[in-house]
């Protein structure tokens, strides 16, 4: 148990901050995912065949390729792409991008593909009459979307979004391969220096279980809040 002491003796404080890092990466990735979903959901619902195929390509490729491969693409390719842009402006030194940004961006793209599917499904299952009624009553576009469609969509989307959150939270363990110190990476370091991998990896599993359990409780509350009217 003294392995978990706070301070110099144990790994308690390191693991605590690593847990905060995992939460921070998951939330950032989730937000980046929402931005991607906001861009690609309209494409997937569009009648234009070209736009539609772009939206479909995004969700199919990302959901069909392992997360680890996507992370390697951004980990090795990210700084290369930025250096290429910088070299156009005459800057030729090596640029290293922040592991936090690469990590949350690559996980964000993955969670965005899942969120896109969730939003598409939710938008499609809203009764057509709702769209027609809003149009007939002559609401402007702002009220039409934010006051009529969005609240109904959220009620349908939240249960599935909490699944996406669980997937995203577990996927963040994969960015430990890029060296970002989150739960998995910290356990790896601690296991290496104390030669006690069984304890530290099991403790990491417990930390993940606590995170998934707590976030499920919160999301269930949100779910009941948004389905009040039903």
């Amino acid at each position: 148990m003294e392995l978990l002491y706070f301070g110099d003796k144990g790994w308690g404080d390191e693991l605590f901050f690593a847990t905060l890092m995992t939460i921070a990466v998951s939330i950032t990735a989730m937000i980046i995912g929402f931005i991607f979903a906001a861009l690609f959901t309209p494409l997937k619902l569009s009648n234009n065949k070209f736009l539609n195929s772009i939206g479909n390509a995004y969700t199919t490729v990302i959901r069909g390729v392992p997360e680890l491969l996507v992370i390697y693409l951004f980990f090795f390719g990210g700084s290369g792409a930025i250096m290429f842009v910088a070299s156009i402006f005459g800057y030729n030194d090596y640029i290293e991008i922040n592991a936090f940004l690469t990590g949350s961006f690559s996980i964000g793209i993955i969670s965005g593909a899942y969120s896109t599917e969730v939003f598409r499904g939710a938008l499609q299952s809203i009764d057509k009459g709702q769209y027609e009624a809003a149009k007939v009553l002559g609401f402007n576009k702002y009220i039409y979307f934010f006051k009529i469609i969005l609240p109904q969509m959220l009620r349908l989307a939240i249960p599935n979004l909490s699944n996406v959150w669980q997937i995203t939270l577990k996927d963040t363990s994969l960015i430990s391969v890029t060296g970002l110190v989150e739960i998995m990476r910290q356990s790896y370091i601690a296991a290496g220096s104390t030669r006690d991998p069984l304890f530290f990896y099991s403790f990491a599993a417990v930390l993940y279980l606590i995170l998934t359990f707590l976030s499920m409780q919160l999301l269930n509350r949100l779910e009941t809040k948004y389905s009040k009217g039903y």
Binding site: E67, L174, D196, P197, Y201, S202, A205, Y208, T212, F213
Partner: protein, 225 residues
């Protein structure tokens, strides 16, 4: 775009795909048995057995697959006692460690899929079986299991695709599967985009095949209710 690299790395990646497929098929078969076992335990009336099966699936579904592999590969070797038993022959090989972790993981998901499939079987079928005087063992093997398999096909297809992506984690325990070889080529040539296109293409092709096979099976054995 380095087309030459893409062409030269294709056979290497295709070779590594064999290991990916081996990992996938073995862990799916083992996982199906584990899943079926735990699904049966979940429907047991004994509360303790029920809680045990629920705990199993909760733990394996609530933690990342990476943690599970690391516990089995790095963690279990630490127990002195295990090193003296015959289990050590299996546990010192990263290949078998990966298969154990994958089977236990997919077993947890499969048990949930099968449980919900068993629970949605209409009671009428079982009553019909009972009233015909069929013994409960045969009702289970000849009525419940075939119906459950048919009903769980779509969800199980998703699980196969998730597991295909999951096998990429074998590369973290030194196995050279498709992702492992792709990473090796990327880190020696620093051409991530080209390698990603080839390796990703192979993965997408496999997903496409799995998706269509499941679709075909669904149509063939499709269950009209």
């Amino acid at each position: 775009m380095d087309i030459e690299l893409m062409i030269s790395s294709f056979p290497k990646l295709l070779n590594a795909t064999l290991i990916t497929l081996k990992l996938l098929s073995l862990s799916l078969i083992l996982g199906l048995f584990i899943g079926l076992g735990f699904a049966i335990l979940r429907m047991n009336n004994n509360k303790l057995i029920n809680k045990f099966a629920y705990g199993y699936s909760y733990i394996f579904r609530g933690t990342p697959l990476l943690v599970q592999i690391f516990i089995i590969y790095f963690g279990l070797g630490q127990i002195e006692y295990l090193r003296t038993t015959f289990l050590w022959v299996v546990l010192k090989e990263p290949y078998w460690c990966a298969i154990i972790a994958f089977s236990l993981n997919t077993g947890a998901y499969t048990s949930e899929i099968l449980r919900s499939a068993f629970q949605t079987i209409k009671p009428g079928y079982l009553e019909a079986g009972r009233s015909l005087g069929i013994p409960s063992k045969i009702i289970f093997t000849k009525i419940q299991i075939p119906i459950a398999i048919k009903q769980s096909l779509p969800a199980y297809g998703n699980e196969i695709i998730l597991m295909l992506k999951g096998t990429s984690l074998a590369s973290t325990v030194t196995l050279m599967d498709l992702t492992g070889v792709a990473k090796y080529i990327i880190s020696t040539t620093f051409k991530p985009v080209e390698v990603f296109i080839v390796a990703g293409g192979i993965y997408l092709f496999m997903t496409f095949i799995i998706h269509n096979v499941i679709k075909y099976l669904e149509k063939k054995y499709g269950f009209q209710t």
